[in-house]
């Protein structure tokens, strides 16, 4: 039964010296779900993400992906099937859009140095396949026309989309999105919403950190609220929205202006 959960985090705690940033957080994400993670700034959301992806080794607790405990090394976590985007966009600025996505594909291909030097038919086939898959993803995110542009020259909204496309290139079972609509206008936010639905429909579960309440409540099957490193409440959108403690922790209205 445990592998129907794409993500199963139990008792995750992260301590830095005297500071406990994340305290005993449990979270489960089933395949086909979109789960939201909200909370005021500094609540430990990104730290929690970093614990999931191996960037930090949790002081306590375990993280399981489809039943297996993940080794705390980011590249192995991605290989297992969890991909992520970053709060501050971390694209490969001097690579083209296509190259960024090709790099995302790295863990699903295996042609190494020898193959690159010999350039046999296997190498050519692998490169062609990777390109095809990458272009497909660019189509999916609406960036196909800019495949040969340098990533740093894209406008902000498209950079965010590129990050998502790059993360999807590793065929993940779970996608972690860290504030994907930060700095976007309502129109762009709506487009992102549709994109996330499409991602879920393709078979990837999504766990998203956001401050935009409307976005979160439209999108997510379940929402968890983190305050000062602890999970305050978890449930459907209505349950969380109505909880007084959540409203108190946030200074926003239920209209949910973007932070």
């Amino acid at each position: 039964m445990s592998d129907e959960y794409v993500l199963d985090a139990t008792g995750v705690t992260m301590r830095f010296g005297g500071l406990t940033a994340v305290r005993g957080v449990d979270l489960r994400v089933g395949s086909g779900e979109i789960v939201g993670l909200i909370g005021p700034n500094g609540a430990g959301k990104t730290t929690f993400f970093n614990c999931l992806t191996g960037l930090y080794v949790p002081t306590e607790g375990t993280v399981r992906y489809r039943g297996t405990v993940l080794p705390p090394k980011p590249h192995l976590v991605t290989k297992a099937g969890i991909a992520r985007t970053f709060q501050n966009i971390r694209l490969f600025a001097h690579m083209t859009v296509l190259e960024n996505v090709l790099v995302g594909r790295h863990t699903r291909t295996k042609e190494g140095l020898l193959s690159a030097l010999l350039r046999g038919p296997g190498f050519r086939r692998a490169e062609a396949e990777s390109r095809e898959r990458a272009l497909e993803l660019l189509e999916f995110t609406g960036l196909a026309a800019k495949a040969d542009h340098l990533a740093r020259n894209l406008p902000y909204g498209e950079q965010r989309k590129l990050e998502i496309a790059r993360a999807l290139a590793s065929d993940p079972g779970l996608l972690l999105l860290d504030e994907p609509t930060a700095g976007m206008n309502p129109q762009e936010t709506r487009v992102t919403e549709e994109l996330v639905f499409a991602i879920r429909d393709r078979g990837t579960a999504v766990l998203v950190i956001e401050h935009d309440m409307r976005f979160i409540f439209n999108l997510c099957d379940r929402v968890a609220c983190l305050v000062q490193g602890e999970k305050l409440v978890e449930g459907t959108a209505d349950v969380v929205r109505g909880d007084e403690r959540v409203v108190a922790a946030y200074l926003g209205t239920t209209e949910g202006a973007a932070a």
Partner: protein
């Protein structure tokens, strides 16, 4: 085996010299993440500054009177070189790639070495450095020279002063802040430019101290003396945990001890008979560095800090 105390003493003396120089490396690296390649030359020019001061004093002046003047001159020269380097060579490159400042530092190091070689009178060979009067002192099984006493006293006093400075003065605390988060520090009103220059200057002053000690101990200054010693001092800084001032001194002591012990005792290890002695001491220091990096990459004496993703 009866040499052990003497070997240890030599190691500690050598190590304190490395430590003094390492402080300069660690302070600069801690704040601007730059390996100040030219710091070895800051050390070297300090030595020549001291020599020049000595030569300019009327002959027959007691060395005890001359010493403070020489120290002052050394500090002046070192600090000028370091501050000029920061202002003219490093500051314009702040914010650029990692490679550019490193290459600049290498160029600076080479250029300064060559300037001394070409323009300082008779610097093509080593130049003799004065000797402190007063015979060798016997402290039990250990013999020390007067210069060594000077080194130990100077090292201890200056370390204490620096610790006080960093902990208790405004500038010192500002330096810590800048090292941890330069952008926020600037927003808090800290003049990061001035802090950086201060770091360079303090590091240079310590290197000058070490240079005078070096001159007194070995009896000469040489335009090349910055290169290997500088390299070892940076190794010491890494060993102790880069960015940590205590780490720099402790790393220096550790390195000095390792070198002295290796030079004296490796030849007793089976199979390594030919690898002892001064010739191979540097090799063993390097091996030590590799081993430490393998086992404890953050340095022997540092504390783990979090890294925000």
């Amino acid at each position: 085996m009866h040499e052990l105390p003497q070997t240890l003493a030599n190691g500690l003396l050598l190590g304190s010299m490395y430590g003094l120089i390492a402080i300069g490396y660690t302070m600069v690296y801690g704040i601007v993440q730059l390996i100040n390649f030219a710091h070895g030359e800051v050390f070297m020019t300090g030595g020549f500054g001291a020599l020049t001061a000595f030569l300019m004093l009327p002959s027959g002046v007691s060395l005890w009177l001359a010493l403070p003047v020489m120290l002052l001159a050394a500090v002046l020269v070192s600090t000028s070189v370091a501050v000029l380097a920061e202002r003219l060579a490093y500051r314009p490159l702040r914010g650029s790639s990692r490679l550019a400042p490193l290459i600049t530092a290498i160029g600076l190091s080479i250029a300064i070495q060559q300037m001394v070689w070409a323009w300082y009178p008779d610097a093509k060979q080593a130049r003799t450095f004065p000797h402190l009067p007063g015979g060798p002192y016997e402290l039990g099984p250990v013999t020390v020279q007067t210069g060594d006493v000077f080194l130990v006293v100077a090292a201890v006093l200056s370390m204490l002063a620096l610790m006080w400075f960093v902990r208790s003065t405004r500038t010192g605390r500002a330096m810590q802040a800048t090292a941890q988060d330069p952008d926020t520090s600037r927003l808090m009103g800290i003049n990061t430019d001035r802090i950086i220059v201060t770091a360079f200057a303090i590091g240079a002053a310590f290197a000058a101290l070490a240079a005078v000690a070096h001159g007194l101990r070995y009896g000469q200054v040489d335009f090349r003396m910055g290169f290997i010693t500088g390299l070892k001092a940076f190794t010491a800084a890494v060993l102790g945990g880069i960015g940590s001032i205590q780490g720099a001194m402790l790393g220096g002591l550790a390195l000095g001890l390792a070198e002295a012990l290796a030079a004296g005792y490796v030849k007793f290890l089976p199979g390594l008979e030919l690898f002892g002695g001064g010739a191979w001491a540097n090799v063993w220091a390097f091996v030590l560095l590799i081993v430490v990096l393998l086992i404890r990459p953050q340095g022997l004496f540092s504390k783990l800090t979090a890294d925000r993703a």
